[in-house]
């Protein structure tokens, strides 16, 4: 390499160095500036957060949503930017967001947003209390503090009233089924002892039969289900996942395990709706649906 080349390289380098410094300062400044600021262009890849943003009146600030968001109706016209496994970074950036809501496990996407100087709101899958906590945090971020506190309070009050209503009734053992092979009881997959579904069962006045298993989802064997002997089986799915043809003959599937009290007492239920599987603002209403299923007498 001759000297001229070396100089050129150096000049080239220093130019890049300047650029990098400028960029760094610019990101740092925008980052600092954003602290405590109100986010005006939010991309949310988490349906639960999207729902909550609309609920606290920050729906107008949402500019992009997850591929799976379906509630409220206003989201249907918004651009979709992927989901947990396939966030489309390019689309997210093209929407020029000042806040991006990501799952806390999306480390690559988080890193890319931070590199671009875009603030990240991390969502961690948790229990019911995480939903109200999330509402309050979102309120501070979007300048809807008071509305958000009201929404959170409403959820807590509603949950408390459900708890009180069902408290006089004996608690049935509940198997909450999230999925299984069509037309059989093979590959059953049920709620374990952590997460909002387990919390919802508890608040609705039931005891999750797999509450002692420290997992969100468990895959019990037929023997495990028989040994757990649930008093009630509730199958929940998001909309459209239980097709009409299967719903009609579905209770029969559990008849194979007729020694289970739930089957003997004819207490196998099928509930569908995205409210049951998204821990957002509808979590209290969904809990009430469970409570009405478990304790119909309490809601007469």
């Amino acid at each position: 390499m001759n000297i001229a080349d070396g100089n050129k390289l150096l000049r080239c380098h220093s130019r890049w160095f300047f650029l990098a410094i400028t960029f760094f300062l610019w990101t740092a400044a925008s980052h600092l500036g954003a602290q405590g600021d109100i986010s005006k262009r939010i991309v949310s890849i988490v349906p639960a957060v999207t729902e909550m943003l609309f609920e606290i009146g920050a729906g107008e600030q949402v500019v992009g949503i997850s591929s799976f968001a379906s509630y409220p109706n206003d989201v249907k016209s918004l651009p979709r930017v992927g989901a947990l496994l396939d966030p489309n970074i390019e689309r997210i950036l093209s929407l020029k967001p000042d806040l991006v809501v990501l799952h806390n496990s999306q480390t690559d996407a988080i890193e890319q947003m931070r590199r671009g100087g875009i603030e990240v709101f991390l969502y961690r899958h948790g229990g019911i209390s995480d939903a109200t906590e999330m509402a309050r945090r979102l309120g501070r971020r979007t300048g809807r503090t008071i509305k958000a506190m009201m929404v959170a309070k409403q959820i807590e009050v509603k949950l408390q009233s459900i708890r009180t209503r069902v408290s006089k009734y004996p608690k049935p053992k509940v198997l909450l089924v999230l999925g299984r092979e069509p037309d059989t009881i093979r590959n059953v997959y049920a709620s374990g002892g952590i997460g909002f579904l387990n919390d919802m069962v508890t608040a609705a006045g039931g005891i999750n039969v797999f509450a002692h298993i420290q997992n969100e989802a468990v895959r019990p064997t037929a023997e495990g289900v028989l040994a757990a002997s649930p008093d009630v089986i509730i199958e929940i799915r998001a909309e459209g996942l239980l097709s009409p043809t299967t719903t009609s003959n579905q209770p029969n599937v559990w008849d194979a395990l007729s020694a289970i009290p739930a089957v003997q007492k004819d207490r196998v239920y099928f509930l569908t709706g995205s409210d049951l599987v998204v821990p957002g603002p509808r979590v209290a209403k969904a809990t009430e649906r469970l409570a009405r299923t478990l304790h119909p007498a309490a809601f007469k």
Binding site: R180, T184, A222, L226, A227
Partner: protein
């Protein structure tokens, strides 16, 4: 050179018979002990008490619905996969040939997955959709491989068979991934779980459905051992000794696919059985297929029933995927045998 290869029609020795009988007894007793072991303590008197109605008898249901069918399924799947492995390895004269390397089981998995994910539309009036679809997938894959291998010359070309099997495998895996990618979270979770293998059939229906296929495959297998012994000399050598090579290949191929299709329909794609069991049996008993084939069926049944006991007891009430256990138990043991035999 192991005996039996050069003298395929040599009398089956007294020792071989007694080995087979001993192995058979061992396999039967292991398969019988299997359902007795389980994570839930059950009241044995209640299990067989006819005075309690079955519909209310938890102990009986745990034994007869949760445990017995899956042990039977385990024994059948283990025997089927191990025998199919033996036959395919002899047919291709390749130690790596298994139902898995030939694309049969990924075809079967794809069929099953499509039903799990697309679901109800394919369920025809009460027929078990998943086993049917996985069987259709297996037969579809095997037909493609067979047609490809036939298209070139007289007889089956083993290299084309293997290559097209491997290619089909990757093609099907790609489609499986694509289908999973399009699916909902819950469904992809189910699908991933299905691909790990699972013997929790929890009824006798899938077994009854698989049985005719397994019986036909078994008849095919029982016809094969002598011809397979001669085929290990190469197709020209075998033909010179009076073996109808094409017919043997057809029977071997079809019965191995029937067995695999039935096995996948029962337990999903359970790996390693088709490769480990035949090799262990050969290391212990030599290479006479009259001995190796039935012995592998026995050993496969005992092996899979044992793995399934581990699968359902180690993490009870949850279940470890049985495919994970076959690989974890079988892999190191196989390596150890390989090292030891040298």
């Amino acid at each position: 050179m192991p005996t039996g290869l050069n003298h395929p029609k040599a009398a089956f020795s007294y020792r071989s018979y007694s080995t087979l009988i001993a192995l058979g007894l061992a396999a039967v007793s292991i398969c019988a002990i299997g359902p007795i072991i389980g994570p839930t303590p059950i009241n044995w008197r209640a299990v067989f008490d006819r005075t309690i109605p079955f519909a209310e008898n938890v102990d009986a249901q745990i034994f007869f619905i949760a445990r017995l069918p899956r042990s039977i399924a385990g024994a059948l799947v283990g025997a089927a996969l191990a025998s199919a492995g033996v036959v395919l390895q002899a047919l291709f004269r390749n130690p790596l040939a298994t139902p898995f390397t030939l694309g049969v089981s990924s075809g079967a998995s794809l069929g099953a997955l499509l039903v799990v994910i697309i679901g109800a539309p394919l369920a025809i009036s009460g027929l078990p959709a998943v086993p049917l679809a996985s069987f259709a997938g297996a037969v579809g894959a095997i037909s493609i491989v067979y047609v490809l291998a036939r298209s070139r010359r007289q007889g089956l070309s083993t290299s084309i068979l293997l290559l097209s099997g491997v290619t089909l495998n990757s093609l099907f895996s790609a489609i499986i991934m694509f289908v999973q990618y399009l699916a909902d979270y819950t469904e992809s979770f189910q699908a991933v779980r299905y691909l790990m293998g699972n013997l929790d059939v929890s009824s006798y229906t899938p077994i009854v459905w698989a049985l005719p296929l397994l019986i036909v495959a078994g008849i095919g297998f029982s016809w094969l051992p002598r011809a397979l012994n001669l085929l290990t000399l190469g197709s020209t050598g075998a033909a010179a000794r009076g073996v109808n090579v094409l017919q043997t290949q057809r029977i071997a191929f079809l019965s191995a696919s029937l067995a695999t299709g039935a096995a996948v329909s029962l337990g999903g794609p359970i790996g390693f059985v088709g490769i480990i069991v035949p090799h262990i049996v050969r290391l212990l008993l030599g290479s006479d297929h009259r001995l190796v084939l039935p012995a592998s069926a026995f050993a496969g049944a005992a092996f899979l029933v044992t793995c399934d006991v581990a699968a359902r007891t180690l993490m009870s009430p949850l279940e470890l995927p049985v495919g994970v256990i076959t690989a974890i138990l079988g892999g190191p043991f196989f390596l150890w045998l390989l090292v030891r035999s040298k």
